[in-house]
């Protein structure tokens, strides 16, 4: 056991855990983005609210979410501690910094980019995650109905609902009502504030730059490097670093400007 501890506490072992947690968080980002895209379904927020409920209710998802919290905390704090220790490995700094000539600036600033992300995650969690779990978000009722064998959802009140009921009298085979916390409305309200959208967009730039170096770096730390693969890993990493944060950033931007 003490041997295992020594190994994972060594410079190389720590990097392995950083890489594993980092790659796990990359998968999390994709799942999170998929969820966010539900915001654009024209179903009065049913899909998004349903997804939010699912993410907090299902026991299996609960375990995964605890792993995610752990991954975020470990990656962030271990990363910060390592950055600080690495600074101490050079007590007297150079008068002239030649870093620009031999390395990409994202790779030299992972700690700073990560700190921006940590601050963002905290704000983000307070606004949505905390609000959803512990705040008193109003709920919204949905009716899920079977029309001609097709399941549809809509808000269980309002003019649209009444019109629909009149139009489909006799056609509905069966229906149930569902009630969810209305995170959908909360998100739309938050993304209506210009400063929040700005903060969100800037943070997504930080995600992009962090991933630009981080994705391929994780593979290197795990020892996954081969002339036949390196180019692909690099390109997939760059693609990931652009597409995923762009996807995230477009959501508040579209909501704000429409």
């Amino acid at each position: 056991m003490s041997n295992l501890f020594k190994i994972f506490n060594s410079s190389t072992g720590q990097k392995v855990i950083m890489a594993l947690t980092g790659l796990f968080l990359c998968v999390f980002l994709v799942v999170h983005l998929m969820g966010n895209l539900q915001l654009f379904k024209h179903d009065d927020g049913f899909a998004f609210n349903h997804y939010s409920q699912f993410m907090t209710g299902n026991p299996l998802i609960k375990i995964v979410s605890y792993i995610t919290y752990f991954a975020i905390l470990y990656h962030a704090f271990k990363g910060l501690i390592m950055t600080m220790n690495n600074r101490k490995a050079r007590p007297v700094k150079y008068q002239v910094d030649g870093g620009w000539a031999n390395s990409h600036w994202t790779s030299r600033n992972m700690g700073i980019l990560g700190t921006v992300l940590l601050v963002f995650i905290v704000i983000h969690m307070i606004d949505f995650w905390y609000e959803f779990k512990f705040g008193n978000l109003p709920t919204k009722k949905y009716i899920q109905y079977d029309i001609g064998g097709e399941l549809k959802n809509m808000e269980f009140s309002g003019e649209k609902f009444q019109a629909r009921v009149k139009a489909s009298l006799g056609q509905i085979n069966d229906f149930t009502t569902l009630e969810y916390k209305d995170l959908y409305k909360e998100v739309y309200a938050t993304f209506d504030k210009w400063w929040y959208v700005l903060l969100y967009t800037i943070s997504m730039f930080a995600v992009a730059f962090h991933l630009w170096h981080g994705f391929k770096s994780a593979f290197q730390s795990l020892g996954i490097s081969h002339p036949a693969w390196n180019k692909t890993i690099k390109l997939v990493g760059y693609g990931f670093a652009v597409i995923v944060p762009l996807g995230f950033a477009l959501i508040p931007l579209i909501i704000f400007f429409s």
Binding site: N3, L4, K6, I7, F8, S10, S11, T12, G13, Q14, K15, V16, M82, N85, N86, K88, A89, R90, P91, V92, K93, Y94, Q95, V96, D97, G98, G99, A101, N102, S103, H104, S107, R108, M110, H213, K216, S217, Q220, S221, L222, G223, I224, S225, P227
Partner: protein, 250 residues
């Protein structure tokens, strides 16, 4: 050409040290960088001042002693060379050149531009060798078949001259490129295979004990390495280390 040199002067390990400016007149463009410093030192000695201490030995890029950081870059502005192979034609008339020692907690400054790279020796002592019976029964290396690609990779890794530029270039003062070159060179060859598990654990743990930083994969080391040691070696070190952590009997 006329130059302004700003050189780190430090009397002893405990001295605080600081940059001192020296104007240089009529520097020949075909001088090597070290010859230019020799000229400066001649002048200083004539004036009765203390010459600038700097390490040098072979002056042909093979011993790795000529450590200094020139304008923020170990071994100066050119790539794949040591300071002794740098020529003054790389500079222009009127330039100001900053010359500093390699900076790392694990490479303490002894005097001016000379640093103590004993940490590298201790890492080598921890595992950078193969145990061979030299009692007269030594097997000729050429009788052991070796895959050509492995021989080539091992040779490339073995060109590391232990200069320490990788540490000096790294923002974390990490010694990973050096250690990975040594681990790779031995792990790739049949003679080094027997001890590969213990070797990588011991060398990495010694590297950590010496106070070098961790690797952020910035690639600054490989970009500044005079022997162009590749980052692939660091990936191999990581693999070797991971493998060793599972199979080590320790």
């Amino acid at each position: 050409m006329n130059l302004t040199l700003k050189i780190w002067r430090q009397k002893s390990p405990d001295d605080k040290g600081g940059m001192v400016t020296y104007p240089m007149k009529d520097v020949e463009s075909h001088m090597s960088f070290l010859e230019m410093l020799d000229v400066l030192n001649n002048d200083l000695i004539t004036k009765g001042e203390e010459p600038v201490a700097f390490d040098h030995d072979c002056r042909e890029g093979i011993c790795g002693t000529c450590s200094m950081v020139i304008n923020g870059r170990p071994h100066g502005p050119d790539s794949a060379i040591t300071t002794c192979q740098l020529h003054m034609r790389k500079f222009n008339d009127g330039d100001t050149i900053h010359i500093e020692p390699f900076r790392a907690k694990s490479f303490p400054v002894l005097k001016d531009l000379t640093v103590d790279r004993g940490a590298f020796e201790r890492i080598m002592q921890a595992g950078g060798f193969i145990s061979v019976n030299t009692s007269g029964n030594t097997i000729d290396a050429n009788t052991i078949p070796i895959r050509k690609d492995h021989a080539d990779m091992a040779f490339d890794a073995a060109t590391c001259i232990g200069c320490g530029a990788c540490v000096a270039a790294c923002k974390n003062s990490s010694a990973m490129l050096f250690v990975s070159a040594k681990v790779s060179q031995l792990a790739l060859l049949p003679q080094g295979h027997t001890e590969r598990t213990e070797r990588v654990l011991k060398m990495v743990h010694q590297m950590d004990a010496e106070g070098f930083g961790t690797c952020s994969n910035t690639g600054a080391c490989a970009a500044e390495c005079p022997k162009e040691i590749s980052l692939d070696n660091i990936a191999r070190l990581n693999r070797e280390y991971l493998r060793a952590s599972f199979v080590s009997g320790e």
